[in-house]
């Protein structure tokens, strides 16, 4: 024991005493007439760059870790980053962590503040107007806070959190934008206590196709004021954002496990709350993306006079505007709503006391199973082809369109399931990885036809090629 302490104590003390040293940041001051970029240049990690009130026509890049960019607010005056309609982005940051506060940012063509791949983002007390596509854009980042910030005049989203994880968006005032707050392909965000009004749409929790992070889940939207988001859409008409119908308070599109509660949602002319799947033409572009909004829970929200003058597209799609809209897709969506609420589309079921989550799938496609105990045919729905004794069993099968075939490698050697004619592999549509013993590959045949396949490593052996799945028409 003594020996342990003797060894451990200096180390512990060193750690304790080292803390203040690490925290003792260099402070670099920048005043009017000076350049913030110059102040940032060569600032060591952990520096604080303090900027006096004044106007700075600059585009800043922060690649050093641990930089705090602190605008000094004095008697209501704050430093202004002004792009004058010429510069692209106000701030691009890649260093982790990154903090910024106290600035006004205006008239940039591209974007206000973006953090790219940053772990630890703190953006607070910013005033952002007219900065192009987004006001604040943390992307591919994690552990994010955007608070006490005002964003206006943005032709896409005021606050846009994209492909990120763990974000807090709170106490912000967001108005006169196309979208107020957007949480896209992001997990574990909390959007609370924001004032969101006079945008085309208020708050959106959604997924988009062809992103690396394929899901957006577990966003909690609570205690926001979401009022008269009825502004005519002024976004790029060719972009997805430009197609957003005006008058929607909060919507969930394709994201999962979203909880929406205690919001005050009033006078949004198309819909107060909407739950829908990603539009088919966008969903089709990315088969790896699950386009439905699943397990959305609409808790107790104050819904007042929404949907009274719906955008024509909403009126056409749902027959009317309403406080709550659901397109009827997805599983496990539910609502706890007072009777006075108007409903459009398919009515949502009342939430169970504890909404159950579905179990995870038994074996995802292509994942090898345990090698000691082989997966059993009866573990899978639909036909199973076993690869054993250097042959496909059965060599040919007939199925109906829409059925999923499972291949299990029971041999000690590696096999593949690969489309090909004779000895010529084409690798489409069947293209398994190398399957070790116990490896499983699944494929769902949507179209009728004759699918010939082979095993790449053994296509020199007749029983391991010319295998077939014949898919009959669905109606035959």
């Amino acid at each position: 024991m003594t020996c342990f302490l003797g060894r451990a104590l200096p180390a512990v003390l060193w750690i304790l005493l080292a803390q203040p040293i690490v925290a003792a940041a260099d402070v670099i001051r920048v005043g009017p007439g000076e350049s913030i970029a110059q102040g940032l240049e060569g600032a060591p990690p952990g520096s604080v760059v303090e900027v006096e009130p004044g106007v700075y026509h600059e585009a800043l890049t922060v690649d050093t870790p641990g930089i705090t960019l602190r605008g000094i607010v004095r008697e209501g005056a704050r430093p202004v980053l002004d792009g004058k309609g010429e510069l692209g982005d106000g701030v691009i940051a890649s260093g982790s962590p990154f903090s910024m506060s106290g600035f006004e940012i205006r008239h940039y063509v591209g974007n206000g503040v973006t953090t790219q791949g940053v772990d630890g983002v703190v953006l607070t007390d910013l005033v952002i107007d007219d900065t192009g596509l987004y006001g604040v854009y943390p992307v591919q980042s994690r552990n994010i806070e955007v608070t006490h910030t005002t964003v206006t005049g943005i032709r896409d989203a005021g606050i846009y959190v994209g492909e990120s994880n763990r974000a807090l968006v709170a106490y912000n005032e967001v108005h006169r934008n196309v979208a107020g707050i957007e949480i896209e392909n992001t997990n574990d965000a909390v959007v609370r206590d924001n004032l969101v009004y006079d945008n085309t749409a208020g708050i959106a929790v959604f997924v988009l196709p062809n992103k690396v992070q394929k899901e957006g889940a577990r966003t909690h939207v609570l205690r926001n004021w979401v009022l008269r988001n009825n502004r005519a859409n002024f976004g790029d008409p060719e972009a997805i954002i430009g197609q957003l119908p005006h008058g929607v308070g909060i919507f969930v599109m394709g994201a999962d496990d979203t909880l929406i509660e205690d919001n005050w949602v009033k006078h949004n002319v198309s819909a107060g709350l909407a739950v829908l799947r990603l539009a088919k033409e966008n969903a089709d572009k990315d088969p790896e993306l699950e386009p439905n909004a699943d397990r959305t829970r609409l808790g107790f929200n104050q819904l007042v006079a929404n949907g009274l003058s719906p955008h024509p597209e909403i009126a056409a799609g749902y027959g009317r505007g309403a406080d709550v809209m659901w397109d009827g897709t997805g599983t496990g969506n539910c609502a706890d709503l007072p009777d006075a609420v108007t409903r459009g589309g398919t009515p949502l079921a009342r939430c169970a006391a504890q909404a159950a989550r579905p179990p995870s799938p038994l074996l995802p496609p292509g994942q090898p199973g345990p090698s000691a105990t082989l997966p059993r045919s009866q573990d899978f729905d639909g036909p199973v082809v076993r690869i054993r004794g250097m042959r496909f069993e059965p060599h040919e099968i007939e199925i109906g369109a829409g059925q999923t075939v499972t291949w299990i490698n029971e041999d000690a050697v590696t096999h593949t399931v690969t489309s090909g004619k004779g000895t010529r592999p084409t690798s489409a549509p069947l293209a398994s990885p190398f399957l070790p013993r116990g490896g499983v590959y699944q494929f769902t045949f949507e179209r009728s036809g004759d699918y010939e396949y082979l095993c790449l490593p053994h296509l020199d052996q007749a029983p391991m090629r010319g295998a077939r799945v014949r898919v009959a028409d669905a109606d035959s």
Binding site: D26, N210, S427, F434
Partner: protein
Amino acid sequence: MERVGLPALCARRRLTRVAVARWLWIGAAALVAACAAEPAPRTARLPTGLDRPFPRLPAPSPAEAERVDLGRLLFFDRVLSGPADAACADCHRPESALADGEPTSRGVHGPLARNAPTLYNVAFKPRLFWDRRAPSLEVQVFTPLFSPDEMAADPGELLARLRAIPDYVSRFARAFPESAAPIELANVARALAAFERTLVSRRSRYDRWAAGERDALTRQELRGLRLFRSLETRCFECHRPPTFDAPIAVGIGVPGDDAGVGGVTGNPAQRGFFGVPTLRNVAATAPYMHDGSIATLEEVVDFYRRGGGRALGVDPSRIDGQIRAFDLREDEAADLVAFLRALGDESTRPRAPESVPSGLPVPSPRLERLGEELPLR
């Protein structure tokens, strides 16, 4: 702008703490020791936020070195092709950054449909081919090998040839000691894949800059890097550091009939979509795009500046939403290209072996273009 070095802070703190309590002597002693162990004050070498880890590679096999050596010989050996006249290295040429400098590669029956991509950093790609149809390097190997338009190998014939070459017999045995009959197609693929995984490019001037060598990039290149990350160009959204690609399929609207990913999935909504190629060594892999239809980097930048295929009459539903026209001055375009040129690193460029076990001539493309066959070095 006072900047205090670490030892100075240590010393100052020691004085105050020591006075506080006796037990802190131990702490102070530890602190002094730590200060002494600390290297001299900070140098200019401070890693940036772009000093990011690459995706992890699979654990090497116990015989990895033997597999790599074997894979390298196979890569350069024309015995793999049916007519014994084309090796992997004929379309992935070391002196062309492991691409081939042609718009589309030349196959047995004339030009192929697509541009030969560089093999640098294929180790980090979860799916291979422009249309992303192969789920691993091992699986990828089989397509060019057996395609009648490319290497046109016959599987039985290929194995018979390899088994008849004593050098290969012993090399396969050493590389795959666990196999009873080591010369089999899966092991050909594994050896080639092991070799390809050594073709890693991550020591460019950009990487040195990201790791903190502040002079490694010029002012112009740094301006280009900023443009690369801007919300105007949005290059970074798909060409993500550190690999400068992304494991996704997107449409940018290069005109033409190639269905790309849509041809593999049968999904009409993905028609004309392709995998995102890496920009590592991009300056050395002209021409560009899946069909090699754009000759220079300057023209590529111009293509994107005008909104990709949007300016060329391509159906906008086939073009990703992030591909939009943007304003870019001539000097800015030059900055962007300058940055792309800083992504070059061919330090793992493979050396062609002086001879291969088959005894066939080793690819020496420049000379063969002249129709000559000369002994190597």
